[in-house]
Amino acid sequence: MADGSDSDYVAYVHGRATALRRTAYLLCGDAHQADDLVQETITKLYARWARIGRVENLDGYVHSILVRAFLDEKRRGWWKVRLGPPPETPAPPAAHPDVEERTVLRAALSQVPARQQAVLVLRFLCDQPVADVARALGCSEGTVKSQTSHGLAALRRILGDRIQIGSIQ
């Protein structure tokens, strides 16, 4: 268990950096922004590290810092300009279909309200159980479920018939 020392902090961050970066990437869809998010998360973590020994579920706690950092950044709107092309201007038809699909999907997802976006990514891309998502967002499981449903509806509305799900078994 971490006891609040610097060496524990360094060891912890090195052990979790890859997983944190992956989650950050899935949340925001951009490797550079993912690095910024992880940097912010581990900075916040260090600021609180002194009393970290009292945190029962450290990974869950750090995850929650990451998700909140993502929500904060979305809220401030600093990333708007750096997101991919909006659905109105889809990638050129010559692009590889997978790339195009990803671009359109990511752009659509970025237009879904931030919390709903986080719920969709955490549940369906990070495969996290509803309870974990609820903890990360500081809300009830019922709220996670309703946000899932609203987020999905928003995503469908934004996408229209632009995406065909060919890969569903």
Binding site: D35, Q39, I42, R48, A50, R51, R54, F124, L125
Partner: protein, 408 residues
């Protein structure tokens, strides 16, 4: 296309193309995170209005001293070595003079800090860190007239008293593991009603304020007494979260609320039954994005404005008068405001605590000379006469000393 699929399977299939690993070499800089994290710990800027988690640059490095060294609370408070300043002084001084700092006694415990104090300047509350192995339990301390009056143990973890009134009634919180509001009165610890929540302040009438629900995501609330059911404070439609952070003797309540998707900004619930958002001050011709209040006293509020631009967040310091609804900008040398006295004087934190008195005259309080190395100072309490303050130092090695400043 989704007729035969439930939402979850549809969502998983829809989003699947986005799965993948980030490319390139990570640009994560652990050393920078530690340097920046250390700075934030000191300035606490990230804690914004949520004083509950306003961390204290602390670690459980309390050494090996046993807490049993702290004496039993004495039934009679010790004689006052230095008389407490009197609020009824005939001619209030125009500025604080002869300010001195003393370390509050900790019964031999190396590491302890202050978390609040009362308007008379006689009572101070804090927390001690007896040993590394004591885990999450933090014995809470109540000082009266500069001496330990009580040592209080509350269950749960990361306990703290957030405030105490001039009758010695303290309120605070613990995590069990959800936050729970607590009170201490006449030697007894009791949980405030209402379930999950925190108590942040109490006035001399015994009215406590705080929030109900999860920390960060709760709603502002008040308890009319320590045994009363809480009442949610009214908030405008669309409010997603909020908390009350302070209450003055008249019963005016200061807090913050956040609308959906926004950060928190100042809010007032006044004794005439009205409640409203604090206006946003102008800072050099630009309207602030938010106002983060810290303290309310006798119709004064102090805090800081927040201005967000594309790449940075900047702050300016203000004193606000409820009666006139006017802001008065404080000079940067006043430091970040922590508290306001009944007489309108302000205590802030710069390199050391600073009292700003009439005419924006600033008086820097002395540092604690016995602390080794560079120290940062955090102020948690300011008396109504503007002459007594309590707080703590935070230095290298994550040491803390609970401190009391007295001026004449």
């Amino acid at each position: 296309m989704t007729n035969n699929l439930d939402d979850d399977r549809y969502a998983a299939a829809l989003l699947r193309p986005l799965a993948g690993e980030p490319s390139g070499t990570p640009r994560i800089d652990v050393a920078r995170a530690m340097a920046e994290g250390r700075r934030r710990r000191r300035s606490r800027w990230w804690a914004s209005g949520a004083a509950v988690v306003a961390l204290t640059a602390t670690t459980a490095a309390g050494g090996t001293l046993a807490f049993s060294a702290v004496g039993r609370p004495s039934p009679e408070p010790r004689p006052v070595a230095t008389p407490a300043p009197s609020v009824t002084a005939a001619a209030p001084p125009a500025r604080p003079r002869d300010c001195r700092v003393t370390r509050l006694p900790t019964g031999g415990v190396e590491k302890a800090l202050v978390t609040g104090g009362d308007p008379s300047g006689r009572w101070v509350v804090g927390r001690s860190y007896p040993t590394l192995s004591s885990g999450a339990a933090r014995p809470l301390l109540i000082w009266k007239d500069g001496a330990i009056a009580e040592t209080v143990r509350i269950g749960g973890s990361d306990q703290s008293f957030e405030d105490i009134n001039s009758r010695g009634v303290a309120v605070g919180l613990t995590f069990e593991p959800d936050a729970r509001p607590y009170a201490y009165s006449n030697g007894k610890v009791s949980q405030l009603k209402g379930g999950e929540g925190v108590a942040m302040a109490v006035n001399d009438a015994g009215v406590a304020v705080g929030s109900l629900g999860p920390v960060y995501e709760g709603m502002p609330a008040r308890w009319d007494s320590l045994t009363a059911q809480p009442r949610k404070l009214p908030v405008p439609a669309g409010t997603e979260s909020g908390e009350a952070v302070d209450i003055d003797e008249a019963g005016n309540i200061l807090g913050t609320i956040a609308a959906k998707g926004k950060e928190k900004s100042g809010y007032l619930w006044l004794t005439d039954g009205t409640h409203r958002r604090m206006p946003l001050p102008d800072v050099d011709g630009t309207k602030a994005t938010m106002f983060w209040p810290e303290s309310i006293r006798n119709g004064w509020v102090v805090g800081r404005s927040v201005i967000d631009t594309e790449r940075e967040r900047s702050f300016a310091y203000f004193r606000y008068r409820i009666e006139t609804a006017r802001y008065e900008r404080l000079p940067m040398r006043s430091g970040m405001p922590d508290g306001v006295a009944a007489n309108g004087w302000i205590i802030g934190t710069a390199q050391r605590p600073v009292i700003t008195s009439e005419g924006n005259v600033t008086t820097m309080l002395p540092g604690y000379a016995k602390a080794k190395g560079r120290q940062d100072y955090l102020v948690e309490s300011f008396s109504d006469d503007g002459l007594t303050a309590a707080g703590y130092s935070s230095g290298e090695g994550l040491s803390n000393h609970p401190l009391l400043w007295r001026c004449r």
